[in-house]
Structure formats: C-alpha cells, structure tokens
C-alpha cells in the first residue's frame, strides 16, 4: 500500500522510520507547499517498508512518499 502526496510541493519532514507501525490517519510526512505545512497521513494500518523520498525532494500530486506493508 503506497502513501502518496496529495499536492505539488517539497518534502519538509518525514516523521516515521523504516519498520514503524502506523495506524490509519496517522501523519507520516509533512510537505511544504504554498508556504503551508501539508500533513500527509497513512490511509490504512501498516508497517513502513520503504521510504521513497528524501527531505527536500520535490513531489508532484500522486507521487509515492513511502510504502507500507
């Protein structure tokens, strides 16, 4: 299950690490876009398998931020 960006922006902070268990609705990353902090949440329960982006990366709407298993 992928957690994706919901808007164009920069990755400001990744707030979870590989192996972390996350619940549905939990914040996993914060983007910076339009001078606002944009929290990105997991939609389902899962374990962080792989973080795809680095802090500072540009992401488009729909880009994968991290993968859950």
């Amino acid at each position: 299950m992928d957690v994706t960006s919901n808007m164009t922006g920069n990755v400001w902070k990744i707030v979870v690490s590989n192996g972390d268990k996350v619940t549905a609705g939990q914040e996993v990353a914060i983007l910076e876009s339009m001078k606002m902090e944009i929290p990105i949440s997991a939609e389902v329960y899962g374990e962080v398998e792989e973080i795809i982006v680095n802090e500072g990366d540009f992401v488009n709407d729909g880009d994968v931020i991290l993968k859950l298993k």
């Binding site: 919901n6 808007m7 339009m34 944009i38 929290p39």
Partner: protein, 523 residues
Amino acid sequence: MKQDVLYKKNELDQQVYEKLEEIKTKSNRPYYSKLKVQNKMFVRDRIEYLIDEGSIEIEDGVFARENDEQFLPADAVVTLVAKINGRKVAIIANDLTVKAGTWGVKTIEKIIRMQELAEKRKIPLIYMIDSAGARLNEQFDTFIDRRHAGKIFYNTARISGNIPQISLVFGASPAGSAYLPALCDFVVMVDKNASVYLGSPRMAEMATGEKVTMEEMGGARLHNEISGLGDMLAETEEEALDAAKRFLDFMPQNWKETVPLAESVEPLPGKDIVELVPANQRVPLDMHAVINRLVDADSFFEFKKLYAKEMITGFSRLGGRAIGIVANQSKVKGGVLFPESAEKAAHFISLCDAYNVPILFLVDLPGFMVGSKVEKEAIIRRGARMLSTVANATVPRISVIVRKAYGAGYVVMSGASMQPDACIALPQAQPAVMGPEAAVNAMYFNKIQSIEDPQERQKYIVEQREKYNKDINVWSPASQLFIDDVVPGDRLRNDLINRFELYSENRDILEGIANKKTVVRRG
C-alpha cells in the same frame, strides 16, 4: 330498489379498494425477496419512513396500466404529495419490483406530471431513484416525442432554483437517467447500492474494451470522493432518508420564501477561538473547531463532506437562523483553492443564493494553487465560476478573515471588493496580495540575484520582508476602513447573529431580488 342501488355502489367501491390493494402491496411482487438481500426497502416503505404518519394527501396515476396484459402496478413509479414535518412535498419514487424500476410509457408521463404539479404549487420535490433505466421494449413510445423521457430532464433543469429538488439514489441511475441526480440540488447516494453512470461496465467493454467494475465506474463512493456528483454518502437507506429531512430543514418551500427561524441554541463547549488559531501562519488550523464555537450546537450539516476537503461547505443554525458556511480548511492541502474546491464552493453558494440562505465566509487561505497541473485543469475558468457566483449572489453575505487571506483567494472568498454586507476580521488576520516570502522575491528578484555574498543576500531579504510585513496585520486595513470591524474571537458569534439579522431586514426591497431567479449550478 333502494337497497339494490346501495348494494351495487358498495360493490363498485369495493372493486377500487381491491385494485388498490393489489397495486400497493409488496407480497405479490416477484422481486420482493431480492430487495432484502440487497438491504433495500420496498418503495412504499421508503415513503412511509420519510413522511409524517398517514400524511399522504394525493396519489395520482396509481392505476397506470391497470388494464395492461402484463402486471405493471402503477407502471413502476409512485408519485404522490405528502407531508414532512408538516410541510407539503412531492415525491417521485421508482419501484424496483416492477420491471426493475424501468421507465415505461406511463412511468415517464407520471414523472412529468408530478414535476409540473410541484412547480405550479411551489413545493419541494424528492426523487427516490432505483431504476434500470429506459424500458427498451417500449423505447419507440418513450424517447422521441415532446413529452417523452427527455422532458423529465428539461423539467428538472427548468425547475432548478424555483423549488428545492432532492435525489436519493438507492440503486442504479444509468445512461440518460444519470442526468436526473446531476440536475438536482442535493444528491444522497447509498454506499454499495447506488450507481450512476452513462454506460454500464458491459456497454463500456463492448464499445471500447475497457474492463471495469460497477463500483469503479459509478459507485456512490466514487461520486462522493472523486466526481463530486454526490453531495452525501449514506451507509443505509434510513440514513439517506433522514438526510433528506435534515436538508429540507435548511430549505424554504420555494425561492420566494425564507427558512423559518428556529430556537437559538448555545454552541458546543470547547476551546476559545483565540486558542484555536495558531499564531504561526504555516501551521494548519482546524476550521471545523472554529465553526463549532460559532454555530448552534449540533446544527452543522456538512455538504459534499468527502469532496475537495480543503474547502468546507455546509448548512448550520446561528442564533436560530439558517445560514450556509463556506470555509477554508488549512488542515487539508493548506486550505489552498483548487479547481475542484472552487467549483464545490460555487455550487454551494448558488444553492444558498437560490433559496435565500445567508452565507458566512470563514477565510484562511494562502490563495489559489499555482503550477502547470492546475492550469491544465482550468483553475482560471473554474475559479472564475466561483468568483462570478459570489459577485452575483444577493443573499446576505458576511466574510470573516480568520487568519491569512492572500491574493485572488481573498477576493473570491467574498473579500471586501466582492461587496459583501460586511467584511470583518479577527485580530489574528493578515490580508495581503501575497505572503512576504513570495512578494519580496517577486519585487526584488534581480536585486537579490545580484548580491553575491550569501549572508548579505539573506540580510537584504529579511530586511525587505520586515518592511513588507509592516502593513500585513489587521490594524493597517482597519485604520483605512478597508475592513468594517476587528472582532475578538469571544465576541464573534454575537456579532454575526446581530449582523445577519440586520442584513436580512427589508432584503427584497433593497436588493430587488423579488425578480431574481437563480439556477443551481452543480460543481
């Protein structure tokens, strides 16, 4: 002899009741058992659930196709007038147990007649949709003429803005009939059962080779989250019927009337507004919490809750008065306006404007989204639709600048230049054409680039930002009368109640709205 006449009369009456029994009962329907498997109610049970007990006033066309060779009770549609909370409403309800609820020759005529009656008598119209579409073996007599199926959509579109029209989608609404909910003011879809699409999955596969499920093609969730056709997702049929009642509470009978006042109720207890608004403008603010502190407890009824969530739209009571709320939610996508959120707002504003519901704007946004993606999605054209709807609205409008209010975003959120009845601000407000970072970069780009030493450059940027920031606060625009008042959070509710009361007085004379008709444009 007298006795003989009486006897015959009784027999004739008896015949009517027997026929009615046969037409109205569910026990003789071959498909009735299937309904239960699908968690569906029989059409007349849905109506009974919705209306005041025993309040059916008239039912026309109940004997449609009574003489037909086939058993087609009421030709698969129930059309009647009944009361909801003491108010007359017209109901048009498909009967799935007759020919899968398809539109036959008399189904269409009955629907058209009830639409015409509702329009003339100026009473709300509720459609209960559950139909497999056109009855194909009767297509020649249902499709081409002036009073054939297309007239139903013609009526729905023309009635729009005159009387509230509600669609409760309990099942399928395929092909042409998909336009029926699309033209209504409020559309509720029952999860897993409702499906609205132009071409069925089977048809799509035949025409293009695409393989897709019913849910992916036109399910309730898709239409609520992605297409925006659904205004509410209901888990059960009862929930959908309750929603229709709730929606009607915020609607007048027709465009000439206003919603009656209710008893004022104190808001839910919670944190003061001053505590809810983060000082750091980058940090999201949960606008729902602010709304809860303003409106009468438990009165907020969200509209299009699952669609374009960066924009909150919904009805509410404020000191007993029905109002519409249009608010930026910076917890989602920073509260930025996207093409979808602008259209969602335009739809809701046009709905409020059509039925004399005053509108409260709560402003906290960094502006319209920028970038090539949204330009391709026609953010200018779709944003302009919101602007035009706001500018042409004649209902009382108050905008409250809650925090940031930048650029065209501020304007379309009914900022002062959109001529609202009032534009007021919380002390935390910061209206400006853009934020200091973007403004300084735009104004002094060449100068900034020409400074080679990075420390010098940063120093210059900070200085310019501070200079720019001098006027980005609430007191500069208040001092210039750009805004009408600065209102502390703990006084805001009272202030809004007084203002809405004042701006509602003599409204028709002042604004010439007696001649105005607004068609509800869905977004």
